[in-house]
Amino acid sequence: MNAFIAFAFKNVFRQKKRSVTLGINYTIVTLILALLLAFSAGAKFNIESNLVLSTAGHITISGQYVEKGRIYSGIKRTGDIESIVLKTLPGSSILVRYRINSSLYYKGLSKRLSFVGIDAKSETGFRGQMNFVSGSWEEFASDPNGVILPKETADYYGIASGDEAVISTRSRFGAFNTGTLHIRGIYRTDNFFFGGLVLGHFDFFRNLDLAASDASSTIYVYLPSTAGLSGKRALLLEALGKAGFVVSTPKTDADAIDAVAAASTTYRLDAKGHDRLELTLATIDEVTGIVRTLLAAVDGVGGLVAAIMLFIIAVSIMINLRMTINERLREIGTMRAMGMRAGGVTGLFMLENGFLALIFSLIGVLLALVVVALFSFAITLPSGGNLGLFLEAGHLVLIPEAGSLALIVSVIVSFSVLFSWFPARRAGRISPVEAFNDVF
């Protein structure tokens, strides 16, 4: 048996030109599929981790409350919710945010910006991802009116650390309120999800919005493990429901994104006619649902391209093998005369093609790993625009997963073996007499 396998392996290199021509196709298909899957896995990982480090929790709690026929966005009884989370999901940690969209005025220039109020002492999300161009986290943390601006925003205003600017907002009740902000830092970040945000202090923005002392915009819950996330969310839903909140989950992926991006706005009218506190609990899987759908579409297109290429390969296998069998008729006749059964001849040719596919798809995997390494360490891409979604420190995030690579190689080898069966079966059926006297 070993001799049979060794013979088949050796035969792969007998007609080098033909083998290489066919093998290159295997390599290209493997390369495309490996890079596509690495891109999908990388994008999913990058988006999830960047979201979790900035604008989403493993479970994100957002909501609205109804008072005297008016619906206000945001959460009330924030402290109660925090206690319930910690009691229901022990070991979890919590970040509370206050978001508003307001205009910032400086020396005759104004622009509407997204502000996020954080607790500078407990903040773990933003802090580690900021590269300060000027100022520092400590300066920001020690000034209750302090803010940190993105570099692009600072450039727009021509504002520097130490300057003061005026913020004017229409509060949730409709009344305008203003405040003075001190620029305590200017930052750059590679995290796409908070590139444009102005960070300030939670209490400052809540007071600016004239909101109650127990109000917030969103609560991010971080769990020690995200295994069984839906089940953990179900526990929390039940506990919050028992505490008098009207709880729900996002109905669509867009609802989940809205929940994460919720900012304070002015009120709307309520038609239900009773006061209530409504909470929406979105898991990180739901928040990234649209991304996953998009990536599945990318994978689908890649799969289609690969399918077309595999079809071309199938035709090539048929033609190639037929030519090979024609050239090796005497060899087939000799093997058959020596007592090899038809199945043996068929198996030999299938095995040869299987080895060919294995060798060249492995080369494809190696090439894919080289490309991944180049993008991960050598090639830097501009982080502006939507491309930033897929970048980490300017490098495209590609994650080649061993399982995916093994699957690609298995599929290609199986495909090659399957499509070589048709001509190989005919080779096996040739009798020794036909092999020595006829042309197949």
């Binding site: 205009s103 005025y105 005759g108 104004s110 020690s142 000034d143 209750p144 009116n145 005026v166 004017s168 229409r170 509060s171 009740f173 409709g174 009344a175 305008f176 309120n177 203003t178 405040g179 003075t180 001190h182 209490d203 400052f204 007071n207 600016l208 004239l210 002015t266 709307r268 009218l269």
Partner: protein, 259 residues
């Protein structure tokens, strides 16, 4: 150090204190003298018993930008505390409109054919003009009124009335109205934020007398205090006091006009 101390004072004192002030203003009674001044000009400017149709032309001037022009047709019936506004110019705004009934203000967007509930003092087309200028006003209901001295605006001696919001459902929680002594009409209004930063000043430049002792402003200038150099000039043309059909004061009318 001194600077930091002031920041902390500004943060911990001004904002919560200003919110607390409104809670107090909600219960406190107005100064009768201030109320009398406000009631006097409201009686003249509230056009109860009249249907008024007019066209506002707004020219918004901003430093370094070309002037922005808006034309809005207004149908007003103060006796029913209602008005309908329809944008007529520019083309991009045409068909858009507001419908107000009492405290409820709805913005109609022809692009989506939907009504959005808005604060009753929404700005008009992103200008410094707010919808509360177009209808009946009842400041005593929303604000605690007090006298804040006297001042001269242009050549007129004026009483200054300070308004503090009773509830936060108003655009400007603090206002100062400068009311001229000669005819009791306001000539200047300063609008402040909750933390008492001046946001906008309005100058009532001219009025036209309608029937009886009723007046309607024909020209005003709104100056933005935060956006330096931004001003909006509003002229009021084509004023008519003929009866307006009831269906004009409905949401359906706005929808119909956008078709």
């Amino acid at each position: 150090m001194h600077h930091k101390f002031l920041s902390i004072v500004a943060f911990f004192a001004v904002l919560p204190v200003s919110a607390a002030c409104f809670a107090q203003a909600g219960d406190a009674k107005s100064d009768p003298a201030a109320t009398a001044i406000v009631k006097a000009f409201e009686d003249r400017l509230n056009l109860e018993g009249l249907d008024v149709t007019n066209t506002f032309n707004l020219v918004q001037k901003k430093e370094g930008e070309t002037d922005r022009v808006l034309q809005v047709k207004v149908f007003r019936r103060d006796s029913a505390d209602t008005f309908t506004l329809i944008f007529q110019y520019p083309e991009s705004e045409k068909g858009k409109g507001y419908y107000r009934k009492g405290d409820d203000l709805f913005l109609y967007l022809p692009s989506t054919r939907e009504f959005a509930y808005r604060n009753r003092k929404d700005d008009v087309g992103g200008s410094d003009i707010r919808t509360d200028m177009f209808g009946k006003s009842n400041l005593e209901d929303q604000y605690r009124l007090s006298l804040a001295g006297r001042a001269t605006v242009s050549k007129w001696d004026c009483d200054v009335v300070r308004l503090e919001a009773r509830q936060l459902d108003v655009s400007f929680p603090i206002q100062k109205w400068f009311v001229r002594k000669t005819d009791g009409l306001p000539v200047k209004v300063e609008n402040y934020s909750a933390s008492e930063t001046l946001l906008r000043t309005i100058y009532y430049i001219d009025y036209r007398k309608l029937s009886g002792d009723r007046f309607i402003f024909t020209k005003l200038l709104a100056v933005d205090a935060l956006e330096k150099g931004q001003k909006t000039l509003l002229t009021n043309d084509g004023i008519e006091t003929g009866a307006i059909p009831n269906y004009v004061f409905t949401k359906a009318y706005l929808e119909e006009q956008s078709r």
